[in-house]
Symmetry: C2
Subunit: 162 residues, 2 copies
DNA sequence: GCAATATAGATCCATATGGTTCTATATTGA
DNA sequence: TCAATATAGAACCATATGGATCTATATTGC
């Protein structure tokens, strides 16, 4: 990192928007690395692998629940599901009491593919967060959880149209 | 949040990818709210306002430096600059010793527009991070900084093509 | 019981995105 | 000095994205 880069960081991450800026920076920087890798090596857009992740860990999950875990527009999830089904990485079962709803289940190939991706992403997580001590990691997660569990994350009073 | 949603969160944010998942979740959820607001009320894509931010805070900045602060593909920054210049929110000056490079400066309108956006985004930041105590916010920022300052964030050994 | 409304998810379409390539200029090294 | 290489940024184009709408089914209230 150049001196110029460092002083820009120093100022930005001390500014009035420092928290949002710092957090977004990490996610943007990591996505540049991680998304590119997964798209290149698995020919799979980022929404597809996160939907596959949700399906493997929560078999029977519905599209609308995937959307709660990975906050994305509904049609993005819908498309990801279509792609995963076309590639036979998941299958769908219509809900018995609500025929609109479709439960998602991984196929064997889907579970195997996710295992591969997950292993790689875990290594990547260790690269990114490895710079923190175990105790710092724990703290970081606790603070993230606190933000996620608050009800202001998904809606806004400040952003009512003015 | 439904019970189902809570238990999905509980499990996901305790899993082996908990750190990446938790951080991405916050940024995705916030972007859904913030990006939509700015696009709707200012008719400005997210990259444009972040580039405007960089220009106002670092007048004379180059496109390649904006890219360091907001890790995005080079052509996205290039397009954002074009849009901002077309709307006369920034102007450009060719570098005297390197005629390829163009320094960015905000116009008065650009600075005024950013001030409005920034105020709103600051209110939003307070909604999202307001759930943390001052001390927790400070800790959160310190940990983010530690990750940002490490050299593994922007490249990866794990993701060398295999 | 049934009209009004809400919800799950699919599809449409205009636009944003990002990998790649291109041009112009700078730097490097034999 | 000048060919080889690197860099700043623009442009091209195939694809991803997301707001809006649509269909089908479920729920709600009179």
């Amino acid at each position: 990192m150049s001196d110029k880069g460092l002083s820009i960081f120093e100022e930005t991450f001390s500014s009035d928007l420092c928290y949002l800026m710092a957090m977004s920076h990490i996610v943007l920087a990591n996505n540049q690395v991680t998304s590119r890798f997964i798209e290149k090596n698995y020919d799979m857009p980022v929404h597809a692998w996160s939907t596959l992740y949700a399906t493997v860990y929560f078999p029977g999950i519905l599209a609308k629940e995937v959307q709660v875990l990975f906050p994305r527009p509904q049609n993005s999830i819908s498309r990801a599901i279509k792609l995963l089904e076309e590639r036979q990485l998941i299958r769908r079962e219509v809900d018995k009491s609500d025929t609109r709803a479709k439960h998602l289940f991984p196929t064997e190939e889907g579970a195997a593919l996710l295992a591969g991706i997950e292993e790689k992403v875990k290594q990547r997580q260790e690269e990114v967060f490895g710079v923190l001590t175990d105790s710092e990691k724990e703290t970081f997660l606790r603070l993230c959880r606190k933000i996620i569990d608050s009800d202001t994350l998904n809606s806004s009073a400040a952003f009512e149209v003015f």
